[in-house]
Symmetry: C2
Subunit: 325 residues, 2 copies
């Protein structure tokens, strides 16, 4: 097998984040579940945006964030995801390329705008997300560049894709292409509500197509139906090659077969948790594809997550190679 | 004379800022003068943006920033300035209204996009600005709402308007309307290069139309042709009612006739100086229109400036009434 040209190929929704700080009461008044992600339509997007305080716009998207942070950490990263030819699309394309990420997907010429995520950051640093997928939801099997997938050590998917049938089909097809080329498939479960609402698809995907699983405790519980972390972990460690399970302020646990590595969290002042899991996956896969052992993967992952939560937005700026090690 | 409905009416360019952190060498390679503002055309904007690292988008514009911060501090603020019906225009309108600022100018239906300013922030916290004015440069006398000007205690203008003949004409016309209604006119000189290149227009404006002058040392030197601060201050204190002259880390000096008040700077960790002068003017005029004395005006001004330079972007988020006092 020839060495891959890319370490990590992300396949996911291409989104611009609109972040604003709000008080706790804002979430309740809008019937939002703190820490979750809900899909919203264009009308609700306009209505919610009108209620939000002045905001900051930055590139986002879960897998896109991972690709960007991995690129900034020095991994050879690529990303497949659809934007429109509008101003938000220009922001997204500019930023992901500026992170050193190859992004070959051409802008759509259709009518839908680039996706946006209205993110409400509460004083405790938690983020609650409301996503209008726009043209991003057109991601379908025909967007997959087979040669690119075959030339990437890991194809990395997001659970959010399972909200859209065509995008879910693209996820499964990408996994088949990657495995046919002898490469690995990774996925983040993304969000516990998303897992609950698409449970069969998630369970089938993880069992049949995933080599490397990223999940937090709530997502793991949703996937397995088991509230006890150890019991739930026992289920998934039998299904995937590597499971990297995050536990918030308690750090993370990495399983590979009979091996188990407990990873201490890296301390950070919490400003905004947006992108913490994305950065964790970036650090982990950057180390893994650099040939590092699993404890090192966990350490790079935790360092990347800590850096991300200590500031607003999902992608710390600049060269992030200092997070290696 | 009836009490005014608004304390501060800003008239200026409606801009979205695109901020990125760069090393010193970036400025030199692009032949930029650190700390200045240059107008650029659409082609140069695209070329420069392509060279910039991943960025953050926030609402900007000098006078618009002042109106927003004043609104957040509790002043009754309004703003006249032109955006397009595009995504950046939506950002601008959302944010200025979210700061409590009345913004009656309808979006333009013409072909030019909303203005954007590419801001390069160097490690010393200095910002160097490159502005594509787009539709903002269409600001002309017909945009002036005479009743609104007559109903505002202070009409506040920016020197940047003098780069565009129609906008300069709007500045002079606004001043005439304000004075005919018995109101005051304030201006920020904006940028020393802008003053140098439009010197006659600035000198005439300050001498004939301005009651309250905001300037930093370099702008003051450009206006008067005098390098010595005290000599230059002596010139302008004879021309305007109040001169608030900022001296960077050395604080500011306020002159009114024979009165002089030296204002100590408020200490802050410098992250990004974008908007420092705008926030200073906001704090100053918020206090002045609240009937406070000049030392208090200087203190609110310095507190607002310090808050602004301690973070990325020109407008600190949230309720800023804690800056009063």
């Amino acid at each position: 097998m020839t060495p891959p040209r890319f370490d990590i190929l992300g396949i996911g929704n291409a989104i611009v984040d609109i972040l604003a700080e709000v008080e706790e009461g804002f979430l309740g008044a809008q019937s939002m579940i703190k820490g979750s992600m809900e899909l919203i339509d264009a009308g609700r997007t306009d209505a919610l945006y009108a209620l939000m305080p002045p905001a900051v716009q930055t590139s986002g998207g879960s897998v896109a964030n991972t690709a960007a942070v991995a690129g900034q950490m020095g991994a050879r990263a690529a990303f497949i995801g659809v934007v429109a030819g509008d101003e938000f699309g220009a922001i997204f394309r500019h930023d992901i390329r500026g992170s050193g990420v190859h992004h070959p997907t051409p802008p759509s010429t259709g009518g839908d705008p680039t996706a946006r995520c209205l993110i409400l950051v509460t004083p405790d640093g938690q983020r609650t997300m409301n996503t209008f997928l726009g043209v991003s939801s057109s991601l379908a099997p025909h967007h997959l560049d087979h040669a690119l997938i075959a030339d990437s050590a890991i194809s990395y998917l997001e659970g959010f894709l399972f909200y859209v049938p065509d995008s879910a089909a693209a996820s499964r097809r990408a996994a088949e292409i990657a495995h046919a080329a002898g490469r690995r498939v990774a996925i983040s479960l993304s969000d516990f509500l998303c897992v609950e609402r698409n449970l069969n698809a998630f369970q089938t995907m993880v069992r049949d197509h995933v080599d490397i699983l990223f999940a937090n405790e709530k997502e793991l519980a949703a996937l397995t139906g088991l509230e006890d972390f150890e019991e739930a972990a026992d289920v998934v460690r039998g299904q995937v090659e590597i499971a990297a399970l995050t536990r918030g302020e308690h750090g993370s646990v990495i399983f590979r077969g009979e091996e188990r590595f407990d990873v201490a969290p890296v301390q950070a002042k919490v400003v905004d948790t947006t992108g913490a899991g994305d950065a964790y996956a970036a650090g982990f896969m950057t180390a893994l594809t650099a040939g590092r052992d699993l404890p090192t993967c966990g350490r790079w992952a935790s360092r990347a997550a800590a850096e991300t939560i200590s500031r607003m937005g999902a992608r710390p700026p600049g060269d992030l190679s200092y997070l290696r090690g």
